[in-house]
Amino acid sequence: MTEIHLELLLGMKVHDLNGKPIARLEEIKAEAAEEDFFVVEYHLGALGLLERLSATTIGSVMLRLFGFAERPTSYIVPWDKLDIGNSTHLKLRCTVAELRTSAP
């Protein structure tokens, strides 16, 4: 039975099957099953600082003033498709194309 400290995974880069970083871990969704709660989904967010800033209301307003119009993409990863064994190098167990993206 291994223990994992969730707070240390936050903000870490998530890499695809080729080892390329594609996003950062931002949120973890859990659901109740029987008497306990289990992780069901990982939500990944933007990689870069500017993109992360645009996720805030005020950040996006300011960035739009300077011409950055795009909203960052976020991915939803089912719990069994992310390998969190190495807390500094999180890896996907599937391709990016297989992931759902959530509406920003």
Binding site: E7, L10, G11, T56, T57, I58, G59, V61, M62
Partner: protein, 405 residues
């Protein structure tokens, strides 16, 4: 109507946060060096601080969180530790300046030099926090602070040139030495817009248990309270502009020169009135900054916090303000000039503004916390513009001023 009696929170925030050694010193210097022309800096700073204070009250009422809780919750512990550390260190410097202010006030009244007063003064401030409640401090300082209106009375007694004052309220560029002028403006903005001010106000709103019915009162209290401080600060600058240049003084080197500011209007009582006003406003600031420090730490780490609780109910909270007072008194006791500490801490305050304000601004736009009481674009624009200006100016002028000596 009864809610408007709570205006005392606004007034004490104004007195401790707005009208204290930083403002008195920077406004006097500005008036002596540039006459009525820097008045617009007070206007701009006041507008910014009215927005910030109203926001912090609105945040407390709408979310029932403190700002510190919100920052940690929204941005995580690392950003919280970073912003709070910066604000905490700047606050310690400001606290030292305020203790220096009270000590100087007693020096002017008694002739005994200020380092001798620093320890008794700090002890008295500590005792008030230890034994007093939030309500007592709030109402006590607000009532005593009304004495500071003597600055306003002095202006009317001296019959100032109202036309010049009106012109000064609009932004004007200086006729000489623009770098020093910018530094003076930075000092005023740093003195007026202090992050501890709105952290204190939002904790105060929760201490006073403001509920949803207080939204309107909060707006009135923010405007009235901050305007109170603004008018008195402007009066200080106007008095300085009327007195010092005509006596040939353009550069204020020591607090003894500032102490004479009420003498033309009130005669020998002028010195006593000044000393008492300085003492009371700096005492208010000392109490406010100490409490703000304790709020920052206790709220951020999830301890019990309240000035209304007895010390035994929240020992760690009380020990934070005790430790801060003990650290802050050190420079004053060893005799460092309070005026120098004041000017330095105001410049540093301006430099640290973005760290204290930007996370708060993001919170004010996040519906998760404030629901439908989010900021309108005017509040956002005003605060961003003024804080950005203060920050940029301070980055440019502070190193040059330090190098220039």
């Amino acid at each position: 109507m009864k809610k408007l009696l709570q205006v005392s929170l606004g007034i004490i925030t104004s007195i401790g946060g707005f009208l204290e050694t930083g403002n008195i010193a920077t406004s006097s210097q500005a008036g002596a060096a540039y006459g009525y022309t820097p008045l617009w800096a007070i206007v701009l700073g006041t507008i910014c601080v009215i927005f910030l204070v109203e926001m912090s009250g609105r945040f407390a009422i709408a979310s029932h969180y403190t700002i510190v809780d919100g920052i940690r919750d929204r941005f995580g512990s690392n950003i919280f530790l970073l912003t709070i550390s910066i604000v905490f260190v700047v606050n310690l410097l400001v606290l030292a300046a305020e203790i220096g202010g009270i000590s100087l006030a007693l020096q002017f009244l008694t002739g005994v030099k200020f380092p001798w007063w620093s320890l008794p003064v700090t002890f008295m401030a500590w005792l008030l926090l230890w034994r007093g409640t939030f309500g007592l401090i709030e109402n006590g300082i607000s009532a005593l602070g009304l004495l500071a209106l003597s600055f306003v009375v002095a202006v009317f007694v001296m019959d100032p040139p109202w036309g010049e004052i009106a012109k000064g309220l609009l932004p004007t560029l200086p006729s000489k030495d623009p770098l020093h002028y910018s530094f003076i403006v930075v000092g005023i903005l740093g003195a007026v817009i202090s992050p501890y001010l709105f952290y204190f106000y939002s904790s105060g709103a929760l201490e006073d248990e403001w509920d949803k019915s207080y939204f309107g009162a909060n707006r009135a209290i923010a405007i009235l309270g901050m305007s109170f401080g603004a008018i008195i600060t402007a009066a200080v600058m106007v008095s300085a502009a009327m007195i010092y240049p005509s006596s040939g003084i353009e550069d204020i080197e020591g607090y003894e020169q500032i102490a004479m500011i009420l003498t033309p209007a009130f005669g020998k009582w002028g010195l006593y009135l000044f000393a008492i006003s300085l003492g009371i406003t700096c005492l208010g600031a000392t109490l406010e900054v100490s409490l703000a420090q304790a709020y920052l730490v206790a709220q951020g780490f999830g301890w019990n916090w309240s000035e209304n609780m007895k010390p035994k109910e929240n020992p760690a909270f009380c020990l934070v303000y005790t430790a801060c007072l003990m650290i802050a008194v050190i420079p004053i006791v060893i005799g460092v000039d309070p005026l120098r500490i004041t000017i330095f801490s105001m410049a540093l305050s301006a430099l640290s503004l973005p760290f204290g304000v930007v996370p708060f601004l993001i919170l004010m736009n996040d519906p998760t916390y404030v629901g439908k009481h989010r900021n309108g674009w005017i509040s956002n624009a005003a605060v961003i513009f003024i804080v950005a200006m203060a920050f940029v100016l301070s980055i440019v002028t502070t190193p040059l001023e330090i190098l220039g000596g």
